[in-house]
């Protein structure tokens, strides 16, 4: 535990950049490669949207259930609350009991909101 290396330099991130570069080039090259290699015979049927062989009706980009949206909003809120816990969790021992209680209060409020959301049946899919 003594040798905890807290410091991190931009140099440490260079390998990540390297890996990113490799990944990007892999993805792009593959796409280009298939584009060049594959045969191209275009027919109208082939270019139409696939709906299990049934006649396509309407545009696919239409409105969808509000529930998904609700989930997205809840995610935004809860995920940000979770972010608050990271620094606390890492330094949890230093904060001791007081920090624990404070975080419990925070989580208590979070939980109250959470229970409210559940009770409001915002997460029920029927």
């Amino acid at each position: 535990m003594e040798s905890v290396n807290l410091s991190s330099t931009p140099v440490d991130y260079i390998p990540i950049l390297i890996q990113l570069g490799v990944a990007v080039s892999f993805g792009v090259l593959t796409i280009i490669g298939t584009h060049l290699i594959g045969p191209k015979v275009r027919t109208e049927n082939k270019l139409g949207a696939f709906e299990s062989g049934v006649q396509v009706i309407g545009n696919a980009r239409q409105r969808f259930s509000i529930k998904y949206f609700l989930v997205a909003i809840l995610f935004v809120i809860f995920d940000v609350e979770v972010i608050f816990m990271y620094p606390w969790a890492v330094n949890f021992r230093e904060f001791g009991v007081e920090g624990l209680i404070e975080m419990f209060i925070f989580m208590g409020f979070l939980l109250l909101g959470f229970i409210y959301v559940i009770k409001k049946r915002a997460l029920d899919w029927d």
Partner: protein, 344 residues
């Protein structure tokens, strides 16, 4: 500096190749495991025991015609799978594959990048993964694809909360965000985090399954309902990239689980056997991969054992079970740690 970059370049190349190969052979393994579970052979024509099967599949992907539907958004349609494979490939950058290896007097750390926010990095990259699916699904202009994409997004963000919360309990134990540190702390056998965080691990694993869109959480692409979901309209290597990214994700999450909870490269009695550092490292790497393979097998095992969830069950599990459980886990961990620190 040049040496450092060269070293890292080689390491990246190795990691990259390994993950691609593992991803490729996971497809074979999957079919083999399926065959085993269902008491049949699985692929066994190409090469001995079907060993060349992935290569054939890959070749087929390349030589198939690529179709971009007329109604699709051309650019995004191509960007989708590319993004998916990129995010899949870079998430492995912070995983420590082994301890240091001394080659010709030079100490090589078997980790691409030991940054102090490794866990956050993984979360960030994993969160990006959903964009690939979302973009591809939306760009296809197909109802199935859109459905799949939305489900994927919804599912992955739902389980991300549970995952984050379960990791918090782990962080309370480890006190660091660096992957290297976390694994180094788990030397030997009794120090593995699984012993102090069993519940956290279960939650994490469940969430990892969901994040990877693996059965029983593969609703975004369930072929019986959505005919492949977000990749309904994809063909040739673009489909291949999606599948690749999925298997790489599986590989990375297995590695993550092994590293976070099962000691990574650590194995019992590693220091007691009197081995030299290089040997410990090499054995460690092998042990690590053994653990990874174990998890990959577990993934497949589950796939052929459990039926798929309904969507409401999926959401209920994520929100109403895992999140409260994860919070309870945090509370438990906090209380126990404090009590332990104060009284023992």
């Amino acid at each position: 500096m040049e040496a450092f970059i060269l070293e890292k370049l080689i390491l990246v190349a190795i990691v990259f190749t390994i993950s691609l190969v593992i991803a490729m052979y996971s497809t074979l393994a999957e079919r083999k495991v399926a065959g085993f579970m269902q008491d049949r052979y699985g692929p066994n024509r190409a090469g001995i025991g079907g060993i060349l099967q992935p290569l054939c599949d890959g070749g087929k992907f390349f030589f198939k015609e690529e179709i971009i539907p007329a109604g699709a958004h051309k650019v995004l349609f191509v960007v989708g799978p590319t993004l998916a494979i990129i995010t899949a490939c870079i998430s492995s950058a912070v995983i420590p594959w082994g301890q240091t290896l001394t080659i010709g007097g030079r100490e090589v750390v078997l980790q691409v990048a030991d940054i102090n926010v490794g866990v956050l990095y993984i979360f960030g990259v994993v969160a990006l993964g959903v964009y690939g699916i979302m973009i591809g699904g939306w760009a296809s202009n197909n109802k199935f694809s859109l459905m799949g994409a939305i489900r994927a997004a919804s599912q992955s963000i739902s389980y991300e909360i549970g995952m984050g919360l379960s990791i918090i309990a782990l962080l309370m134990v480890t006190g660091t965000l660096s992957m290297g540190e976390i694994v180094a702390q788990q030397s030997g056998f009794v120090n593995w985090n699984i012993w102090v965080q069993p519940l956290g691990f279960l939650i994490f694993m469940t969430c990892a399954f969901a994040e990877c869109n693996r059965v029983p959480f593969d609703l975004p692409e369930c072929e019986t309902e959505l005919v492949g979901g977000y990749h309904t309209e994809y063909s040739s290597m673009k489909l291949g990239l999606y599948m690749f990214s999925e298997y790489i994700n599986m590989f990375v999450s297995s590695a993550l689980m092994a590293a976070l909870y099962f000691g990574g490269y650590n194995f019992p009695f590693m220091y007691e056997l009197g081995l030299s550092q290089n040997w410990i490292t090499i054995i460690g790497v092998l042990v690590f991969f053994l653990k990874i393979f174990g998890f990959i097998f577990f993934f497949m095992w589950i796939r052929w054992t459990l039926p798929r969830f309904r969507y409401d069950q999926l959401m209920n599990l994520g929100w109403k079970m895992l999140i409260p459980l994860a919070i309870a886990n945090i509370v438990l961990t906090g209380v126990i740690t404090i009590i332990k620190d104060t009284y023992f």
